[in-house]
Every structure is written in C-alpha cells, then in structure tokens.
C-alpha cells in the first residue's frame, strides 16, 4: 500500500491521481475542514461525540451491506431488521439476563439473515426480491410483537445497556467503539482472511469461482446471515441509546447503508469495495447531516443535499476508472 502511494506521488501528475484514487478520504477531509470553518460548534467534543453516536448504528449495518454487495448481492431487509430486532432485544432484556438477551438477539438476527441467504444461495432467488420480501416481513413482525408501540427497558440489564450506550471511554462514545471494533474486524477479515478473498472472487466472477472449486453457495448464504447478525448488533445499540425498542426504528436505513457503501466506491455488481472506504462513506453521510443541522437547515433540503453528494461521489469515481 505504502509503496504504491509513494510510486503514485512520485510520478508526474501523481497528486491528482492520488486524490482521485482516494477520493472518499479526500472528500471526508474537505468536509471536515469546511465544517470547522463554517461552524464554531463543530469541533466541540459534544458535537463530535454526537456525530459518532448518530452514525454508529447505520455504520454497523453498512459493514454488513458491504460484504453482501461485494458478492454482487444487496440486502434491503436491514432497516426493518433493526426495528424487529430492537423490539426483540427490548422484550428479551425484560425477560432474561442481559448476556442471554444480547446473544439471543444476535442469534435471531443471524437466523433471519440466513433466511435471505438460503433463498438467494440455494433457491437462486434474486437478492433484491428475497431481501425485499424479508424487509416487509420483518417490519410487520416488529409491529406485531410490540403491538405497534415502543417497548421500554424495565430491568437492571436494560439500565446497564442504556448507561453503556450513552457513556464514553477516553472521550469516544462506547457505541462508536463497538462500531470501530466491527470495522477493524471486518477490514482484517476482508484483507487477511480467506473469507474476504473468496467473497470478492465470487463477486468478481461467480462462474470462475465455481470452476475454481469454491463453495459459492455457502459463502453467498453466509454474507446474508452475517448481515443479519450485524443488523442485530446495530439494533441493540440504537435500542439501548433510547432505552427502548420501537417498530419505527431503522426506517430507510438500508438505503443510507447502500449510499454509504456506494460513496465508498464499491461496485454494485460486486467484487470491488473496501471497509475503510465504506467507513468514509458512513462518516461523510453523517458529517453532511451534522453540519446541516448545525446550520439549522431543515430536513427536507438536507435530503436534497445528501442526494447531490451521492451523485458527486460516484461521478468522481468515474474519473478513477478512466
């Protein structure tokens, strides 16, 4: 990595191609500088820690979205899964001891993701359709199990979780730490583990992967299951932040996650994308909301700006491939 960077910088016009290649990091830094200039409040620890807390939930599901997209698939169910699993966690935390509630929620997330994985890998269903179906089913189940209203944490375990979710370690919010650990873990798995190699190979040429003796179906199945487990982790975090599980949580989060992955330069046809760039995508989206909030821009224009940024980021990547 370092060698390639040096090589690029030393070649004529190197800076430009460097900026184009690492454009997400570049956009991120520009946005930070811009935000710091435009608002006095931006660089306060309260604001920065708020920003991190806001992006952690979507950030975690974006990591799951990335590994699904790397195989050439898509997971539309994660937003609704967050709602269903937040409700599930709230119910469990009021019923059983905390470790069991956490493990149970993650296991249920993994199981729900497995349903999508089974449909895609073994029933050859289009990922868009399989996860679209799961999306409405999960949202519906969330409303059924909660009777349509939020379920509030009532036990000591619940109290512990909401303390955990709202506190910091060395100035970094605990939930952001969870997010960063997942990012680092995923980055290591993708770069240094066979798992990452194989899902990228499978996304770049499924037929060649099959002919190389790779268990294509197993890995396709696994990425959806992992995405489900990560949705469960995100659900636990967002529920703990507000001390409740609500079926209205995570609305359209799947789209934000896809946007983050795409801003991070991943290809929707699979085989291309990295965790670090997805992290940048998540932070960029979070930063935009944050700065627009600081500037008191109402939420409707915010959506317009967000959309424009997505277009801009993807256009920049076109330069990269040229």
């Amino acid at each position: 990595m370092n060698a390639t960077i040096k090589q690029q910088l030393s070649s004529p016009g190197g800076w430009l191609s460097f900026l184009i290649k690492y454009n997400t990091i570049f956009i991120f830094i520009l946005l930070v500088i811009f935000s710091a200039c435009i608002s006095d409040v931006f660089f306060t620890s309260v604001n920065l820690s708020n920003l991190l807390k806001q992006v952690s939930g979507i950030g975690i599901i974006s990591v799951g979205m990335l590994i699904v997209i790397l195989t050439g698939g898509i997971d539309l169910s994660v937003g609704s899964m967050v709602a269903l699993l937040a409700v599930t966690f709230a119910i469990l935390v009021n019923l059983v001891i905390l470790p069991l509630a956490i493990l149970g929620t993650i296991a249920i997330g993994f199981a729900l993701g497995s349903v999508a994985g089974y449909l895609v890998a073994y029933q050859k269903m289009a990922p868009f359709i399989a996860t679209l179906a799961l999306m409405t089913i999960a949202r519906g189940l969330g409303f059924i199990y909660s009777n349509g209203s939020p379920i509030i944490f009532e036990t000591k375990g619940g109290l512990f979780m909401s303390n955990f979710a709202n506190n910091s370690l060395l100035g970094i919010p605990n939930i952001a730490l969870v997010f960063f650990i997942i990012v680092i873990g995923a980055a290591i798995m993708l770069k240094y583990n066979v798992f990452g190699r194989l899902i990228i190979a499978l996304g770049s040429n499924e037929e060649a992967a099959r002919l190389s003796g790779i268990k294509v179906n197993k890995y396709k199945f696994l990425v959806y299951a992992i995405s489900g487990a990560l949705a469960a982790t995100a659900a636990i975090i967002v529920a703990s932040r507000t001390n409740l599980g609500s079926p209205n949580m995570g609305v359209s989060w799947e789209l934000d996650a896809i946007a983050a992955v795409v801003i991070g330069g991943a290809s929707l046809s699979g085989g291309k994308g990295t965790v670090v760039n997805t992290l940048m995508g998540v932070l960029i989206l979070g930063l935009i909301s944050n700065i627009l909030n600081l500037l008191n821009v109402p939420s409707y224009p915010q959506q317009v700006v967000k959309g424009a940024i997505i277009v801009f980021a993807v256009l920049l990547q076109r330069f990269e491939s040229k």
Partner: protein, 504 residues
C-alpha cells in the same frame, strides 16, 4: 464501384496512434483492393485491433489518412463507419442476449425506421441472410439460447445486413470446428467474388494461407510491408510476426508415460444424455487429446467430469480408487483441475490481481487454521509460478484484465499448478493466443505432463492437437467414437471419426 483514381478500395496511410505515453501504431499503411481477402497478422498487442478500431470509428487516429474509394473519411463512431459501408465483427461478441436473432441483426436499423415495425418481414429477411450463409439458426430464436458458434454466425450476418464494402473479421473462427470453419471460408470466397473487400485477422496461419490474397504483418505497431500470399510461406510470416526464426511450434514430447492409468472414466452418462457412455483413461505423464466437431459434447464431457453437470450413471477412478465428483468442490478436492474454454467468463477473475487469481484454488497451503493468509508464503508461491510460467508482468499485483490473452491463459493454468493437480483438463488451451505465447503454453503442458500429471486437452485446432497429444479420443454425438494412436494421427482420420465414419 471502382474509383478511377485508385486501384484500392481502402487506403490507410501513415496511421499513428498513442494511448497516453504508449505508442500503439507507428506510421502504419494498409491498402486493400476491391474483391480481395487481406489478412492482417501479428502477435497479441501488435496493434491489429487498434488499427481496425480506427478504421471503424471506435478510436480516432492521431495522424495519417484513411481513404475509402479515394475519398478521405473520418468516422467518429461505429455508426459513421457502418454508414460508410465498413462492418466489423469484433472478437468480443456484441449481441444483445435477450433479443431475437432477427432483432439483433437489424438492431442498428431499428431506431431509424418507421414507427411500426414489420416483424414478419424483418424475421424473414434475417432468416434468408442466415440461410444464405449455410448455417441452421432460427431467426426468431432468442440469442441467449444460442451456442457460441451460432452467436458468431449471427454476428457475421449482422455485419452483412448492411451494404457492406469493407468487411473486417477479427478472429472469426476461434470458436468454430473444422466443418463450420470451412463453411465460413466458402462464404468469404463468395463475398470476395461479389467485390467486397475483406480484412481478415487470425492466428491460424493454415487458414490464412488457404484464403488470403494478400498478407500484412504488424509487429510492435509497425507494419512490415504487404506480401502476396502465394509468393510467401508460413515460416517467413512467423518470422515477420515474432521477429526471429521459429524452429518448432510443437515442442518434442519427452515425458515418461506410466503404465497404470492415473484417471479412468467408465460409462459416464449425463443426466440429460447429451454425453453418454464415455469411457477412457489417462496415464500419468500422458497428454490425451479430445477432438470432435462443435456440439459433439467435448466441453460438456469435461464439465460432467468436473461436477458442473449432473451425472446419471458411470464411475470415475483416480489412482485406482473410485471417486465422486458431484460438484466442482469435490473435483478440486481430488486434485482435478479444469481450465475453461471461456477464459473471460469462466477462467479468470479479470479485475483481481494475478496473485489473487493464482491463490484462489490453493488456500489450504497458505492459510492457518483460522483461515488467515500467510502473506509471505502466498507471495513466494505466486512469484515462483510467475517466473516458471514466464507470465509477462511487472508485478503480481497487476489486475489480470491488463494482461494479454496468452498471459491470462497462463494465469488460468497457474492456479491448477499451484495445487499440484493430478489430472488437468484444458479446454481449448490456446484460443485467441498469439504464436509466441502458444509455444510457451505447449511447453508448459509438456512440463506438467513430465511431472506425472494426466493431462486431457480438448481442442478444435487439429494441427495443435496432433502436435501435442500422445493419443486422441474423437467424440461424435455425445460419446467417444474412436481412438487414434500417435501413428494414425491425420486430419483426415480425425475428421472421419468426428463425423462418425470408420477409418479407410
């Protein structure tokens, strides 16, 4: 048609073209008469494709002049080219899979015609066009369901649907078996006699000498002049192409062939019966050739053995023990390797690095128990294979899509060498590969065999299969019709078996 000022239909003079700092064509001349078949030869990367792309409007030249019937032309895109009467059949098929044959053939006209389409008439015209070429394809069939040979025929029909004056064919016969090739070449003679100028790009020199009137050879972006085909010979052309004398295209076989077979196939029948009752064996150190016409089930047989298709009956034995290969995963676990004929779609991972391509079969050796990669061990293995196979690349991190066809093929082979396969099935080892890389691949096949591997080579290229195989099995209608020992190798014998007739 002929212009009084010039004998030539097409004159390209002083054409130069660079991509960035890389100069691809330097002052190239190409002159083609009406009613002439003009072969354009050169190794991969010599600039043939770029020259054709300039002619057809895909690329724009940096300098030089293109005259068509004495008039200067400057096509800005392929549509301009087509309007001028320049039709190109590119190597990469450019058909729309979900449309019918007829729709594909007349696709370029659909936009500009009347609001209502007369589908009946279009389909009928397309059918007549295909029939006139002598191939059996239903014009209303969906292109997706056609074989690769049929797709190529549709591509040619599409080029002829225009009022074509200059027809360019880039490697048209790579997917054809000898009978189909013969049909195509006869068609080209007919077109030539009608006065169409044909530019023919091919790596098959035998074919070129059968049909070409004139030959132009490109080497490293420079043309080495035009030759009259009847006044030159293969060796001279090869010398011009690679810049040195070529002693033997097919290396001497000096592998020790074992007595007991390493791999046996007994009465193998596919669930859909397209391949049935196939029995043969391969000995360690042996190169077994599999010949046959297109559609005779050669590739299907290989894929059946490799576990890609479902089996109905039959058994496989590896080193005397019966094995099951229900899926490619099982086949690979038994160290059976398969190099597909369709390199880009099934053979390599184009956007991925050479290193990642080679390692993909090999994770048991280069990972620890938790699946983490031993990076230095991987690099060591990959580097040694790159050196051994003479893959021309500055680094193992280069994406495979940036390599030439020959080097891509070596990467596709390398992944099976890296797991010490016991049996390797290679389907069309040198399709779309230039002469220099061909020799290297033949040498490689030899070396693999010498190590005691059983090598099965499927090929449509008869000189090739006779040059490298120790024995040839000939397939006909889904089964093995006959076997030829080395002393009976001849094109005639292969063809007789391939069409289901006994030897004379």
């Amino acid at each position: 048609m002929q212009n009084s000022e010039s004998d030539y239909r097409l004159e390209m003079t002083g054409i130069s073209k660079s991509f960035g700092v890389v100069s691809v064509l330097k002052d190239v001349n190409l002159k083609v008469k009406p009613g002439e078949i003009h072969a354009l030869l050169g190794e991969n990367g010599a600039g043939k494709s770029t020259l054709i792309k300039i002619l057809s409007g895909v690329h724009q030249k940096d300098s030089g002049q293109v005259l068509l019937n004495g008039q200067e032309i400057n096509p800005k895109n392929t549509h301009d080219g087509q309007v001028l009467g320049i039709s190109v059949v590119f190597q990469e098929l450019s058909l729309v899979n979900d449309l019918s044959v007829a729709e594909n053939i007349y696709l370029h006209k659909l936009g500009s015609s009347k609001f209502w389409m007369n589908w009946k008439e279009i389909t009928q015209n397309a059918q007549e066009l295909i029939d006139s070429l002598g191939f059996e394809i239903d014009a209303s069939a969906t292109v997706r369901n056609l074989s690769i040979v049929q797709k190529q025929v549709v591509e040619i029909a599409k080029a002829l649907s225009e009022d074509t004056k200059v027809l360019v064919l880039d490697e048209p016969t790579t997917v054809f078996d000898p009978t189909d090739t013969k049909k195509l070449l006869n068609n080209l003679f007919k077109l030539r006699d009608k006065g169409i100028s044909i530019i023919y790009i091919s790596h098959h020199l035998e074919e070129v000498f059968k049909i070409a009137d004139t030959i132009t050879v490109l080497r490293d972006g420079v043309d080495t002049g035009s030759l009259t085909a009847s006044e030159t010979h293969t060796d001279h052309v090869i010398k011009l192409m690679i810049g040195r004398e070529l002693k033997d295209l097919y290396p001497a076989r000096n592998s020790k062939i074992g007595k007991t077979p390493i791999f046996e196939v007994k009465n193998l029948t596919a669930k859909d019966n397209l391949v049935h009752d196939v029995s043969f064996d391969v000995k360690p150190g042996e190169v077994l050739g599999v010949a046959g016409l297109g559609g005779s089930g050669r590739t299907e047989m290989a894929k059946l053995i490799f576990g890609l298709y479902k089996k109905k009956s039959g058994s496989l034995f590896l080193e005397g023990k019966e094995i099951k290969t229900q899926t490619p995963v099982q086949a690979v676990a038994h160290k059976i390797g398969f190099v597909s004929e369709d390199r880009k779609e099934e053979g390599v991972f184009l956007p991925m690095s050479i290193k990642k391509n080679i390692s993909v079969t090999n994770f048991n050796f280069i990972t620890n128990k938790l699946g983490f990669l031993k990076m230095d061990k991987e690099q060591e293995n990959v580097s040694s294979l790159i050196t051994k196979l003479n893959i021309k690349t500055p680094s193992s991190e280069i994406a495979v899509k940036n390599l030439s066809g020959g080097n891509q093929q070596k990467v596709a082979l390398a992944k099976w060498l890296s797991i010490d396969s016991k049996v390797i099935i290679i389907d069309e080892p040198t399709r779309g590969v230039d002469v220099g890389a061909k020799i290297e691949i033949y040498n490689l096949i030899n070396e693999v065999a010498e190590k005691g591997v059983g090598v099965i080579v499927i090929s449509s290229d008869m000189p090739e299969i006779m040059g490298i195989a120790d024995r040839i099995q000939v397939m006909h209608t889904g089964t093995i019709y006959g076997e030829l020992p080395k002393e009976k190798f001849s094109e005639e014998n292969i063809l007789r078996y391939a069409i289901g007739k006994p030897l004379k």
